[in-house]
Amino acid sequence: MRNSFRAGALVALALVAAPALSASLNERLAPCLACHGEKGTSVMPEVPSLGGQPAPYMLVQLFAFREKQRLADPMNDLAQELTNDDLMVISEALAKLPPPVVSGKGADAAKIEKGRVAAQKHRCGFCHNPDMSGHDQIGRIAGQREDYLLKALREYKSGKRAGFDPAMLEVVRDMSDEDFVNVAHLLAHWN
């Protein structure tokens, strides 16, 4: 999988880093969406869906990739050449993608219920909105890929991802890995 990222990243890098004045925004976004999903829903393992993400959230994450405050292949390389204006234009454009499509496949009712209890206890909805749609710099987590959610939560816990704001570090402090598994399952099957 790493390799597929790298191959994809090389192509993307070539396209994104050469912002010929004539290149339309859609052309520049095409390589991004080849990984992230053209209609806002990602089908690639551990690549997040970007549909429905608030623009300010994507802006701060792209900024953090560029400044190497958030370390993640292949985004650090991809963000390297983006100017501040690029970050604003790209995040505004991506924010227009429709929210990810949730499939009911593989939903485990018991896990979802446990996830709901954990989400309630740890107040996810108070920051991410009751419908988990996110706002401002707080990302959308409803309908996100399960594998990516799990990766993100584990990275907050291990300290690999500090976050633009440390709010998530406080949230995961008292959560177990089982909580992560259940909450990720709940959010991935959100409806």
């Binding site: 802006l59 900024f63 108070f126 920051c127 991410h128 706002h135 401002d136 710099q137 709010a167 402090r173």
Partner: protein
């Protein structure tokens, strides 16, 4: 309730913790404060207690209703807003004062330090850079001085040297003004600090004793910290040696200064989250030579409110009480005493206290500067709003962080939400 402020912004709910209040300097109830004031303080404490007890959720949980949504921390953009979009026209100050843009393009402007020659150094929390602002031939020049640092929130200037505080280390750049534009490498003088991100960004300042003061926050909202490593204020020599703890039981102080009359250190401290909409309130504290050295966290908040979780069996009288309460969740950050001569005489030796603005309440408060006036014994005489307007219809148009005085007596104010520094001046 004479000592409460009039609501600084429209749209706020009624109730006591909306506004800062003055509290006695000694033990509550023992210094002859007016019964009105006493009542106000305790009524509020009682209100929270009942809120907490009335909840179905575990103590400290937020209310289970729609109103409690949108509580998340909003940090603004890492990209500064252009000068023409800054909210200066919305800012309100007393008659005779004027607010103007001093510098735009100062990404995520946090703590301020002014050199003798007038160079302004600005720390940041989110963009890893310390910026330098200079006025050259009448033109404002904003340049990054150093970048790639880990949350360099704290800056202090003393005798030609700039001190910078990152999350877990303090460094210095000597003769810094000769090195502007050369990307100087800061020399680390002390890295004996915890690496926690939470409350890890630091304010720093140099005291009248020529020592560098550095607070270490509690590594989370509410917990019993190891006071040897966290939740305290340290000081050290200017070369990083001789570090010692001078006060403990502070949760997260991001601003302090020394009273020019009494020479005592005063610091702001941010109250815990998730107890209630209204509080506990942020504190203005004073480090007294003969005072208690523990300020109460996490057992006793705001001098009279025992933590619903950790306060059982604890006695608030065992801890140094605050000298003023600054509102619930308002995020009181930078504070400086005014020693200049531009402002009217009543401002002399008063303190400006900046409230960044709340996130852990639905009806936001803060986004303003408060003015605290003091009695000769160092207790607080009055507290009132000085600058308001960053909060409009429960939405931030800016988030003020720190104030600093220029040589001419005017006051600079940083705004990390817009990446700007404003100047407040006075003319009759």
């Amino acid at each position: 309730m004479p000592l409460y402020l009039t609501n600084p912004a429209p749209g706020q709910i009624g109730g006591c913790q909306n506004n800062p209040s003055v509290v006695p300097s000694g033990k509550p109830g023992e210094d002859g404060m007016s019964s009105i004031r006493k009542c106000a303080v305790f009524v509020c404490a009682a209100l929270w207690t009942s809120t907490v007890l009335g909840q179905q959720t575990p103590v400290g949980g937020p209310p289970q209703n729609q109103a409690a949504t949108k509580l998340g921390p909003i940090v603004g953009s890492p990209i500064p807003v252009s000068a023409d979009k800054l909210p200066v026209a919305k800012l309100k100050v007393p008659a005779g004062f004027k607010v103007e843009v001093y510098a735009s393009g100062v990404a995520n402007a946090r703590s301020l330090a002014v050199s003798d020659k007038g160079t302004v150094f600005v720390g940041s929390r989110l963009v890893g850079a310390v910026h330098a602002i200079r006025i050259k031939d009448g033109k404002t020049e904003v340049k990054p001085l150093v970048s790639g640092l880990q949350r360099p929130n704290g800056v202090a200037f003393h005798k030609g040297t700039l001190y910078i505080a990152e999350i877990s280390r303090i460094s210095r750049i000597d003769n810094v003004e000769d090195k502007l534009g050369t990307a100087p490498k800061p020399t680390v003088i002390n890295e004996q600090f915890p690496k926690d991100e939470q409350h890890g960004w630091k304010f720093i300042g140099i005291g009248p004793d020529e020592k560098l003061y550095v607070p270490v926050g509690a590594p989370g909202n509410v917990l019993v910290p190891d006071y040897k490593t966290h939740a305290h204020i340290r000081r050290m020599n200017l070369d990083g040696s001789g570090m010692e703890i001078i006060a403990e039981g502070q949760r997260n102080s991001v601003g302090f200064d020394w009273n020019p009359v009494t020479k005592e250190m005063y610091f702001t401290d941010n109250g815990r989250d998730w107890v209630s909409e209204d509080g506990p309130e942020d504190e203005l504290n004073r480090v007294r030579a003969n005072g208690k050295k523990h300020f109460g966290f996490p057992y006793c908040h705001q001098g009279n409110f025992r933590d619903p979780e950790f306060g059982w069996g604890m006695n608030c009288a065992d801890y140094e009480p605050p000298v003023a309460l600054l509102g619930g969740h308002g995020a009181s950050l930078g504070m400086r005493f005014y020693t200049g001569s531009m402002f009217p005489a009543e401002y002399k030796d008063a303190a400006f206290i900046v409230r960044h603005g709340s996130w852990n309440r639905t009806n936001k408060i803060g986004g303003d500067i408060l003015l605290a006036k003091f009695n000769p014994d160092g207790t607080v005489k009055s507290l009132e709003p000085f600058l308001t307007g960053f909060l409009q219809d429960n939405t931030y148009v800016g988030r003020p962080v720190d104030v600093a005085q220029l040589a001419d007596g005017s006051l600079l104010l940083s705004d990390d939400f817009n990446g700007a520094v404003y100047r407040i001046s006075y003319a009759k």
